[in-house]
Each structure stands twice: as C-alpha cells, then as structure tokens.
C-alpha cells in the first residue's frame, strides 16, 4: 500500500500520457478533463463480494425479463404490480421497440449498477444503468499502470485480476452475434465524453471502431463500409450512441450520429444491437422502486440487494411523507442522469423548498425522493494528506449465455468534503476496486 501511495504521481502521469480522459460540456463548450486517480484502492472482501455478486446477477436477470415482458405482453402491468402510467409516461419507453425480440433474448448486455456501502456494512443500490453504462476502462488501465509502477504490490496482495473485462465483453458480443458477422463498436465520435473508452474497448476486444458514416443498412442488413466502397456484413454492434440518435428515420430526425434504417435491420433479427434500444424504461429512476418487486414477480426469489429507501410522490401516502420530510430527503428528477437534477432538501432555502414542493404536487410522476444514505467514506489522498470522501461503486454485469459480474468495478469519489455527488461529469475522481481472491 505504501508503495502505491508513493506512486500516485507516476500513475497519474501515465494516465495523462496514455490519454485517459473524458469530455464535459460546460456552457455548450467541449472540454477534455483528466479523470483524477487516487492510488488507495477500495478493497472488497471475498465474503462481501460473493453476496454482492449473487445480488447483482439476480437483479440483472429480473431486469432482462422485465424488458422482454414490457415490449411484449406486459403481464407485470396487467397483474397490477406496476401501474401502467409508469410505463407509458416514461421517456425511456419506446413504442417503436414493441414486439421486437433481440438476438438470443438478451436486452441488458452490459449493466452498470451503482451501489454504496452504508455504515452498517450493507450494500445498497442507488441506480441501474442499462443503456450505455460507461467507465469500465478506467479501472483496467489504472490496474495495468499500477502493476507496472509497483509490481510487488500484486505479489504480496491476493487480488483478482480485472484485466479480463474486454474478454467478457467479447464473449457477450460473440454470443449474440447474428450470422457470424463483424463485431463493431459504434462511437458518436471524438467529441463524446467517453470517446477514449470507445477506442480502448474496440482495441482490447479486437473489434472495429466505427464512426457513424462507416455503417450502412441495405436490404435490412447492416454493413461496414471498407475502402473502395466494399461492404462487410455486421453481426453485432456495441453502440455507444443513445437510442434517440440511433436511427434518424425512427427517432430524432435531425440526428447525424445514427444509422438510417438500423431499427428495421434490428427488428428483422439481422443484427444484434447492444444494449437493446428501449432499455431506458427499465433504468428510469421512477422504475427503480419496482425492481425488488420485479425480482419477486419474475424469479419468485427474495431480493438480495435493497434499494435506497425510495418514495414515489405518485402514491398519495408517499407524497404526503415527502412534502412533510423534504428537508431530510434527496429529490431526483426522473428524466435526468449523470448527477443532474439531484437536489438535497437540507441544502435548499425556503423559496427553493416551496418551489420544489409545488413541482412535486403538480407533476408527482416526475420526481422520486430517497432517504439520504449515510454511506461510508473512503480514504483519499489529497496532496500528502489523507482525507475521507463519499464514494460509490459501479459494478459491471455482462449477460450472454450466462450472467457474469466483472471482478472489479469503478469506485468514484466526491472531491469535496460532505459532497455526495460522485459523478465524473461533476468533477469526481476514481479508485481501483480490488476484489480479494
């Protein structure tokens, strides 16, 4: 551990040199930032991890069954488990995906589930990311570099190797691949916040990094355009382009990032798209409340991982509670992501509180409220000094023939003391996550 701390600067220099960065839009201008790395790893015991792992697999299996149900018969709605309003009013529900069965029935190829550890040691789910969860590349690179600058650390500590993520990803891609076609990673381009990761993953999975103009649909099949206008059939596309920009003939018509008629090729089963379009319904913040119910409904199992205690102002009892206890709660706008639209009652002045109460009363479906979880602080180096900061863990779960949890994850921490917001777009840093052997 001591050598690791000494190597902080060396590792961060390496990260800078390799170009590990992400982009942020501030006031409409694109900036690239380095993602600050903290050398003290988060260590998770074998026992804790075994529990987390089981809980995550359970959760992802249920979410996958939920998506197949929602874009099919909607049994969970007709059985009264989830009110239909939560489906049809959600921005994440895409009627264009109705009746489409993705290759091998996999919707959630890559799930990024954000967890925190409470002071009593229990692990709690904050949110599911089932569309384009990003961040897996950072711990892999950090590990690779750390091993380089401090090789002994990994001799003395029994740590599971995390550099197999690309091979897990490739295994998922191969499993859903249609007609043994090419495997491609589609990036919106170098001005995307995660462009670094797109190129990294394409390289490590030995797949093709494609830009929007490189792919074309003809006769309901997807092709990669090579030199001299050659065409090569694509069997699976790991797209890092959001649903709304994916196909300008079906979704946002002004999109330049999409592939016209991709949805038709997909609907006809001629290409696998990962993650499946329409997954936004399952990671809608308003739906998170219902995930434990999905586990009971689809798997007839008891949920292992709990959600943060959540209130839906949609239900009048919950609304009453939220309006009365707003100072102790965190309020989230269900239509926002990336740490935007998150408000802590205790930080708001009287006027702001009145305002948010009015919004909750007028549009109850748009908001959720959660108890503020007192999650544990992790040790972070600030200069030579060690300080304690809030941190979460994004675990990555890959689904193909089996559902597997990657033996690591992205631990993000808040830069400011007492801040609960760890998102990289809000200035947070990251740590490696060690799982004991």
């Amino acid at each position: 551990m001591h050598t690791l701390i000494q190597q902080k600067e060396a590792v961060n220099k390496w990260l800078e040199r390799i170009g590990v960065r992400f982009g942020v839009y501030k006031g409409g201008v694109f900036h690239e930032q380095l993602f600050p790395f903290d050398p003290i790893p988060r260590v998770i015991s074998r026992k804790d991890w075994a529990f987390i792992e089981k809980g995550l697999v359970q959760r992802v299996r249920a979410l996958n069954l939920f998506l197949a149900d929602i874009y099919g018969d909607k049994q969970i709605v007709s059985d009264g488990v989830i009110p239909e309003e939560f489906i049809y009013s959600s921005k994440g529900y895409l009627p264009q995906c109705e009746g489409i069965m993705p290759s091998k029935k996999v919707y959630v190829h890559i799930a990024g589930i954000d967890l925190v550890q409470a002071r009593d040691g229990s692990w709690i789910v904050l949110e599911d990311n089932l569309r384009i969860p990003s961040g897996a590349s950072y711990p892999i690179i950090a590990r690779t570099i750390t091993r380089k600058v401090s090789p002994h650390t990994f001799e003395y500590n029994k740590i599971t190797d995390n550099r197999n993520y690309p091979s897990l990803l490739r295994k998922t891609m191969d499993y859903v691949n249609v007609d043994n076609g090419l495997s491609v990673v589609l990036t919106p381009g170098r001005f995307n916040s995660a462009f670094f990761e797109h190129s990294f993953l394409a390289e490590k999975t030995e797949t093709i990094l494609a830009f929007p103009g490189d792919l074309v649909v003809e006769n309901d099949k997807l092709y990669y355009k090579g030199i001299f206008n050659s065409r090569e059939r694509v069997g699976v596309i790991y797209r890092r382009v959001a649903d709304e920009f994916l196909d300008p003939l079906v979704f946002d018509k002004t999109s330049l990032l999409g592939i016209p008629n991709l949805m038709q090729a997909y609907a006809k089963g001629n290409v696998a798209v990962m993650n499946a379009p329409g997954n936004g319904i399952a990671d809608d913040k308003g739906l998170c409340y219902f995930v434990p119910k999905m586990i009971e409904y689809y798997l007839q199992e008891t949920p292992m991982l709990q959600n943060a205690p959540t209130y839906l102002p949609y239900f009048s009892d919950d609304r009453k509670y939220v309006l009365e206890n707003i100072r102790n709660l965190v309020i989230k706008d269900v239509s926002e992501a990336g740490g935007y639209g998150v408000m802590f009652g205790r930080d708001m002045n009287a006027e702001e509180l009145d305002n948010i109460k009015r919004l909750i009363t007028n549009e109850p479906r748009r908001w959720i409220a959660q108890e503020v979880i007192d999650f544990i602080d992790l040790e972070v180096l600030e200069g030579a000094e060690s300080v304690y900061r809030k941190a979460d863990l994004r675990a990555f779960i890959l689904s193909g023939e089996t559902v597997e949890v990657w033996q690591s994850g992205l631990t993000r921490f808040a830069r400011q003391q007492d801040s609960f917001v760890v998102n990289s777009s809000q200035g947070g840093g990251f740590k490696d996550t060690w799982i004991e052997k």
Binding site: E85, S89, Q96, E98, N219, L249, K253, P260, N261, A267
Partner: protein
C-alpha cells in the same frame, strides 16, 4: 359500401444533387375493418429496390436507399379501396394512446379549454369528443402557413391558428386529458388536394373517427393511411441524405380520391 380510387404523388426537389439518400414511407392505405384494399401500387423515382415492413403500431412502411446522386425524389401511391358505410374499427386498446406524447402534451391553456367544454360525467364518449371538437373549432382559426410540421398542440393553441395537423394534435390532447384514448390518423379525403389528418377515439371496444378541422364525425369517404401517437409516428415521408442543399421544395402534385363508377 363504396369503392374509391386514389392517386397521390409527391415530388421533393433539391437545389443541388444529393446522394446516400435513405427514405421511409407510410403512404399506402391500411387494411382494416373499415377499409379493404382492392389494389395498390407504390412507385419511387429514381427507381430503387424497395423493402416493406410493418412498424410496431401496425403501419405498413416502404423503405429504401438511393446511393447515386439525384436532384429530385418522387413517390406515387395509387390504388383502389372499398370503404364501408361506417368508420368503426374493432380493435383491442393499446393503452399507450391514453398518455401524452411529444406533440400532444397539454399545457394550462389546453386544460382551460377542456374545462370550458364543460363535459358531463354522464355524456357518452362520442358526446364528449363532439363537445371538445366544438370548443376547439371556436378557438382555432384555419390558416395555412402559420404553423409547420414541428408545431406542438400547445404552440398552435397559443398562435390561435393552424391546419389539420394542429387541429388533430389539439383534439388528441384534449381527449387524452379527459381520459379518452385518442390517436392521430394520416390519410386522404376527396377534393382536398392535400393529405389530411384526423382523430380516432376509443369508445367501448371500438375506434371511431372525427375530423376536427371540419368539426364533424366521420362516417365514410376517408382513406386511412397510418395511425400513431401523433404526427411523428405517421409522417408519410421521412428521409435523410448527404449533400449541401440550399432548399428543399416539396410539391404535392396530385391527391385525388374519386368514386369508382
């Protein structure tokens, strides 16, 4: 029961040649309990390989790709349809049509208009829809070129003017706000010279239709092409292409609906 012949042709002209043109058309009549397709043709110029598919809402689509450079794009749909005397569709309700969509999301002004229509709890669904259409008809003036294809229901009501698309969006918004399932229909009618839009509303197991632009219930004479949550699900032509083009002029060359002799 009457049999009608329709013909419908649109040309889009580009100021300069374009290429890599993808298109998606929903331009031919639906087969349903009200209308029976006897014959149909769809031609696209420049002629290319056309694929057909059905979208998730049940509409027939034609799609294709024109790789070579071209200065205009034209499609023509024609055929014959047998229409029954009453516009009634026996269909299970997709409950999606009870909820707001992008173009039909109500604002305060729309909700005030709903109040002003003073619906009674014991009115039949059709009575309610007629009252809403009456209220709307008094609040919106028919006026081409004041709104465009991106205008929402709320924006149109604020302007106070609009065309069939705006009337349709507004009536859908009013119906859904009153708890009545309603959907957008794109189609053709006799003597208009343009494509048209109207509303289908759900009443005890059946879709029925009303034309808010003319403020009348629809019995027959209308040819339905497609339906959806709002205009966005029913665009007759959607396309993307490459090229630097100054203007794009769309001319509806003909829309004719005639009774067969």
């Amino acid at each position: 029961m009457k049999q009608v012949r329709y013909n419908y042709k649109t040309r889009v002209t580009f100021s300069d040649a374009i290429h890599s043109h993808f298109f998606l058309l929903r331009c031919t009549p639906q087969q349903n309990g009200y209308q029976q397709v006897i014959m149909e043709k769809c031609h696209v110029y420049p002629q290319e390989n056309i694929r057909t598919a059905t979208d998730s809402l049940g509409n027939k689509m034609y799609s294709g790709f024109i790789g070579d450079r071209h200065n205009y794009f034209e499609f023509e749909a024609s055929g014959e349809v047998k229409l029954s005397d009453s516009y009634v569709l026996d269909e299970k309700l997709n409950r999606l049509y009870l909820y707001p969509s992008v173009y039909t999301r109500p604002d305060t002004a729309i909700l005030e208009l709903l109040n002003a229509a003073s619906l009674n709890a014991d009115d039949s669904v059709t009575d309610k829809v007629v009252k809403l259409s009456d209220a709307l008809y008094r609040s919106l003036e028919y006026s081409p070129q004041t709104t465009d294809i991106n205008t929402t229901a709320a924006q149109a009501l604020k302007i106070g003017k609009g065309v069939c698309q705006d009337y349709t969006h507004l009536l859908i918004s009013l119906c859904r706000s009153a708890g009545i399932a309603a959907r957008y229909v794109a189609g053709l009618i006799e003597g208009e010279g343009y494509t048209h839009a109207w509303v289908e509303y759900y009443d005890k197991g059946y879709w029925r239709a009303i034309d808010p632009t003319h403020n009348r219930l629809i019995e027959t004479g209308y040819i339905k092409l497609s339906h959806g949550r709002d205009y966005d699900d029913c665009s007759i032509e959607r396309g993307v292409f490459s090229g630097i083009v100054q203007q794009q002029l769309e001319v509806q060359l003909t829309v004719g609906v005639n009774e067969c002799q």
